[in-house]
């Protein structure tokens, strides 16, 4: 049995970088996610959409290891990561941002991004206390990588600013930078454009596309702005009340009657309300 599933895992490694197979999660009597599957091809942008409470963030939490699914499995490049700790999953190459920005508010932009590289660094307690030598050399090497990301996201002039003092849109961008700093293979973005104005949304969409195309990072995106989702996604997955109800290209999904129903309700449902 183990052998079979292992071989199957190798089989879909060629095209799908991240695979979620029938995961479910319940909190007491509430079903957050029920038997949802997701296939994320390498180098693609996959969007997860759905009404509020559809289970989008719960699904992301299961991928990043923050929730353990009650059933089903999550695999990155054919390797089962379902039961791994969030910190180990980060080290394997999955980074994410949060719906409500979760930056380290007491630290500068630079330190937030350096923390993004935590998993790629090695310095232990002793070499940190001594610092001069190993730890310093490592800090400098990783500082260069971080500066490159600061430049990419046009945050150079803010590097010494504490993140608590930054405007909302900038904080979202810093959070993207922190996720990028870990050199992820797959980037999970939870409403990166939530609460932004049109200009900021366009900037963020541009950055997401650049991250995907120039840096070759696979992106899984939760977003409510349908215009952005339909423009930049290769594939759209629709959730409603914890279940997957549709999957396909943006065009296919938009024409799917089930999706229209989930968003707008049926004639009967409308009459009841």
């Amino acid at each position: 049995m183990v052998g079979v599933s292992a071989r199957r895992a190798v089989a879909y490694e060629t095209d799908n970088q991240l695979v979620v197979e029938g995961v479910s999660k319940r909190f007491g009597g509430v079903v957050a996610v029920e038997d949802v599957s997701l296939e994320v091809p390498r180098g693609s942008i996959v969007s997860i959409i759905g009404p509020n409470g559809a289970g989008k963030t719960s699904l992301l939490n299961m991928i990043s290891g923050f929730y353990k699914p009650d059933s089903g499995r999550v695999a990155l490049e054919g390797k089962d990561i379902t039961q791994k700790k969030p910190s180990d999953i980060a080290a394997l190459g999955i980074a994410r941002t949060f719906q409500n920005i979760a930056l380290f508010s007491g630290l500068t932009v630079l330190d937030n991004l350096m923390l993004g590289r935590h998993v790629r660094m090695k310095a232990g307690v002793l070499s940190s206390v001594i610092y001069w030598g190993l730890a310093q050399k490592e800090d400098i090497a990783h500082r260069e990588a971080v500066e490159e990301i600061l430049e990419f996201l046009k945050l150079q002039d803010l590097r010494r600013q504490p993140t608590a003092a930054l405007a909302y849109g900038l904080r979202k961008r810093v959070e993207l930078g922190r996720a990028l700093a870990s050199q992820p293979k797959v980037l999970l973005l939870d409403e990166p454009m939530g609460g932004m104005n049109q200009d900021e949304k366009e900037d963020m969409a541009r950055y997401v596309l650049d991250v995907n195309q120039e840096r070759g990072v696979t992106v899984v995106l939760i977003e409510h702005d349908m215009g952005v989702v339909m423009d930049i996604s290769d594939k759209v997955v629709v959730l409603d009340r914890g279940r997957g109800i549709a999957v396909g290209t943006p065009d296919e999904v938009q024409r799917n009657p089930k999706v229209v129903e989930a968003y707008l309700g049926t004639a009967k449902g409308g009459a009841k309300a």
Binding site: P86, D88, L103, V119, S128, V129, A135
Partner: protein, 355 residues
């Protein structure tokens, strides 16, 4: 304070990440070194040297506690007990095995670190006030154990006499020589902490403090880092306890009761949480406060009180002023002395042309 940052352009990351990024800071450090290594020990009276020595020891302990409370955001009411663990470990090794200080000191620190990790384990599940109570239990259990187990405490008095530290036949047996002994370890602790908090580990501690969920998601094993913070912090406390032991020439559990844990918390709250300079200022402040109050009372208080009343008045006043000051700082400047110093400095940064 009277330096200018303009015109200083860093061209390497190493220069940008230096402890003191401004060239003039080298002169400040050099001046401080001359003052503390040459001028102070030559000019200051032995009594005041003994106060400085107490401050040096307190700095080590305050830095350690600040790593845990200020940087990692965990709380401990058990640091007095961790100090006693270090103190009795060193005292026993020094007396029974006749080991020199350069072995007993790290041994005391390591033993305290081990105990600290055990007492810190509840931090994996609980935070804040609950953790405070759990570590308080640790403090009381350790106090009780040391007091009741003669193998540790050395008999009925629960105290062990030790010889003063010596190196290559030279004994640090006066306040003047102990001054250098303790200064060395205080400086070592300061530099070590400065390095720790600017490095990978220190950043991870702050991440655990600010946003533990996000910390986990970006790859920081928060359980590991919480225990690591307890270990490092207790190591400092253990070393602090060993230094007390050598300074007083005796390890005594009464030296490390709950009130000591609270005193040290007061130091870092008054000095400034999450700040190395704050730990130092807090240690200075809390060590000097009772001494200043006593000197003031001895000179002024004799006008109002008889000598017999004085002792009570002084001890009562100390607690009163102490509590009052903590409340004062929490209201006026929650970020402590360190923040006050930074406000003064930033005022003078562009002085006299502040616009």
């Amino acid at each position: 304070m009277f330096h200018r940052e303009s015109g200083v352009f860093k061209t390497t990351y190493a220069a940008d990440m230096a402890l003191y990024p401004l060239p003039i800071a080298k002169w400040t450090v050099a001046a401080l070194a001359v003052i503390f290594v040459v001028i102070v020990p030559l000019t200051v009276h032995e009594y005041y040297l003994s106060i400085l020595n107490l401050i040096f020891i307190a700095i080590v302990g305050a830095l350690g506690l600040n790593i845990l409370v200020g940087y990692t955001g965990q709380i401990s009411l058990g640091h007095g007990a961790f100090m006693s663990v270090g103190a009795y470990t060193a005292a026993n090794l020094a007396v029974k095995l006749d080991l020199p200080f350069w072995l007993t000191l790290p041994a005391g620190g390591l033993m305290a670190a081990a105990i600290g990790v055990v007492v810190g384990m509840p931090s994996l599940r609980i935070k804040g006030l609950y953790l405070a109570i759990a570590t308080l239990a640790g403090q009381l259990i350790i106090e009780w154990t040391i007091n009741r187990v003669p193998a540790i405490s050395g008999g009925a008095q629960a105290s062990i006499q030790v010889d003063r530290p010596s190196l290559f036949g030279f004994s640090f047996n006066t306040q003047g020589t102990l001054y250098f002994f303790l200064l060395f370890f205080a400086v070592l602790a300061i530099i070590g902490t400065l390095n720790l908090v600017r490095s990978r580990i220190g950043r991870a501690f702050v991440a655990v403090r600010d946003q533990d969920i996000a910390a986990e998601i970006i790859g920081i094993d928060i359980y590991r880092y919480k225990l690591m913070a307890f270990a490092i912090s207790s190591f400092y406390a253990g070393v602090c306890g060993v230094l007390y032991t050598y300074y007083f020439g005796i390890a005594n559990y009464e030296q490390f009761q709950l009130i000591v844990s609270i005193d040290y918390l007061a130091m870092i709250i008054i000095g400034g949480l999450g700040s190395v300079l704050g730990s130092i200022l807090g240690a200075v402040f809390v060590t000097l406060l009772p001494i200043v109050i006593r000197i003031l009372m001895e000179n002024v208080g004799s006008l109002f009180f008889t000598t017999a009343e004085m002792a009570n008045v002084i001890s009562g006043l100390r607690l009163g002023v102490f509590g009052g000051l903590i409340i004062f700082f929490l209201i006026v400047e929650p970020e402590g002395l360190n923040r006050l110093w930074r406000n003064i400095r930033s005022y003078f940064r562009v002085w006299p042309f502040s616009y």
